[in-house]
């Protein structure tokens, strides 16, 4: 039972991080109809910017997280302007290739600046908490709390503000959005910025529990693409549910079957879902 609860905390924390990264990806896909393969690069960059802010600027963890999130958000918006916007009328494969190019570029740039070796980010609050015999690190609790706050805030933004509604409107009917006078270019850049913000925040949250390296974005890329395919490309609830499905499958599969199989289980689940429901778990209107 203790092991179970222990793993439960791990799964929820991991799922929270997956959800933040996957939400940005699914929003961008919904609005731009482009699978942004550079998304993992934004996540990786978020971790490095957090690292740089902590060690270089010597600021605290929370300001470093915020700085990294804002930095990556601006970069993501810039990326939309200079890479994806000019390719808006090009064949679909062009922005995909461009996105992969951006991913490689970001990896190379990070490696050039910070080197190929692993970096470690110290946890802001060291130590553990014991809850009824279950031992949880403070960082996992921080991850869980922060991801809940961010997801709730994002949901409020999408559902309760007019600017948020423009993102949903554009992903549901692009031409309809243009006809009511929504500036779809601005919404596109904004959506990219939000996706960068979420990815960087997720990276800053999880970074103290793992090693930061230039290739960490590729691993995350695979997982979040699996998640949004699982949940339905472009679907917000799909991204959240998919994130937790994957994190639970990985964590519990790893704990009860074999750690070596943790990654395999996630993708086996993906294959299964695609066989039964090719459109993803949460089918969305066109």
């Amino acid at each position: 039972m203790t092991t179970f609860l222990q793993q439960l905390f791990n799964a929820v924390a991991l799922g929270g991080v997956y959800a933040l990264v996957a939400l940005g990806l699914t929003l961008v896909y919904g609005v731009m109809r482009v699978p942004n393969f550079a998304h993992g690069g934004l996540y990786m960059l978020g971790a490095y910017l957090t690292y740089a802010s902590l060690t270089g600027l010597g600021i605290g963890y929370v300001p470093a997280l915020i700085l990294a999130a804002i930095g990556v958000a601006l970069l993501a918006a810039l990326m939309e302007r200079v890479i994806f916007y000019p390719l808006r009328d090009a064949p679909h494969v062009s922005p995909m290739i461009a996105a992969i190019g951006v991913l490689f570029f970001l990896e190379a740039a990070v490696q050039l600046i910070w080197g190929p070796d692993f970096k470690q980010i110290p946890a802001p609050i060291n130590g553990i908490v014991e809850i009824g015999g279950v031992i949880v690190t403070w960082q996992r609790l921080i991850i869980i709390a922060a991801s809940v706050v961010v997801v709730v805030a994002l949901n409020y933004f999408l559902k309760r503000t007019l600017t948020g509604a423009t993102i949903e409107a554009m992903s549901q009917n692009r031409e309809g959005a243009r006809l009511v006078g929504i500036n779809t270019n601005r919404v596109g850049a904004l959506t990219f910025a939000i996706s960068g913000l979420l990815a960087a925040a997720a990276a800053a949250l999880i970074a103290p529990t793992l090693l930061v390296s230039p290739s960490m974005g590729e691993v995350m890329n695979l997982k979040v693409f699996a998640i949004i395919i699982l949940g339905g490309m472009g679907s917000v609830p799909g991204a959240i549910v998919g994130a937790f499905l994957l994190s639970f499958a990985e964590t519990f599969g790893g704990a009860y079957i074999s750690l070596d199989f943790a990654d395999v289980i996630g993708f086996a689940m993906l294959v299964l879902v695609l066989a039964i429901r090719p459109q993803g778990l949460f089918k969305r209107g066109t």
Partner: protein
């Protein structure tokens, strides 16, 4: 008034509109008759700023409608209710309507007033206000689409095929609603294949064939024109 002068639109080498000239006076309902593919939708898309003109001009009260963005045209009083409705299917009816007032986003009070007005115009929508727009019947969705374009408080409403795919009884309701909108002071340019219902409420009309205007006249003239009668009224 809407003044379209020698407007041409090309899609690559294909010319969809050949130097079209027409006008819509304030307060009028003008119908644009024509078969599928005649170029009606191209004309409407150009007037809304979705499609670039290759030549000529279109103006609403001295505001050029060609060369800008849809945003600009909506903000200057020209709103389109497009063919196929183009609603936001997963958003509630009310959110669809509020987004229709996007160009007036700083004027919340005005938007709330307009919302009440369109609910009075389409009372069926009141009880559906929280339902996803995509869950409504075809006729109700058409009401939402017209209401959404009205939320922009247009002076000129471009209505593209509002009766498409609707049951005859619903078509009647839609046209009655268009007439009420017009009586409230909105000029209407209406593209229709359902010539009889459209001519019934229109003041004037044009006939478009293969991107050219082949005929124009008042409601009476068109109703009694032999070519219109055989081609569009089926008598």
């Amino acid at each position: 008034m809407l003044e379209v002068r020698d407007l041409s639109v090309n899609y690559g080498h294909f010319t969809a509109l050949h130097s079209i000239s027409l006008n819509v006076n304030p307060g009028e309902i003008v119908v644009m008759l024509g078969a599928n593919g005649a170029g009606k939708s191209t004309l409407f898309r150009t007037l809304s700023g979705l499609q670039r003109a290759s030549g000529g001009s279109a103006k609403w009260k001295n505001t050029p409608l060609t060369g800008g963005t849809p945003e600009y045209n909506v903000a200057h009083g020209v709103a389109q209710c497009p063919e196929g409705r183009l609603l936001f299917p997963d958003l509630s009816v009310e959110k669809n309507l509020r987004l229709g007032a996007f160009v007036h986003r700083k004027d919340t009070a005005g938007t709330n007033r307009e919302l009440e007005r369109v609910y009075t115009l389409f009372p069926d929508l009141v009880q559906k206000r929280n339902a996803p727009a995509g869950s409504l019947s075809g006729g109700q969705q058409q009401m939402v689409a017209i209401a959404r374009s009205l939320m922009a408080r247009p002076e000129l409403l471009l209505l593209d095929e509002p009766s498409l795919g609707l049951a005859p009884m619903v078509v009647e309701q839609v046209f009655a609603a268009i007439q009420r909108v017009n009586e409230a002071g909105v000029s209407v340019l209406l593209a229709e294949q359902n010539a009889y219902a459209a001519l019934d409420i229109a003041h004037r009309g044009y006939v478009m064939e293969s991107g050219v205007l082949t005929l124009q006249g008042t409601q009476q003239e068109l109703m009694t024109d032999d070519r219109v009668r055989s081609a569009y009224l089926g008598v």
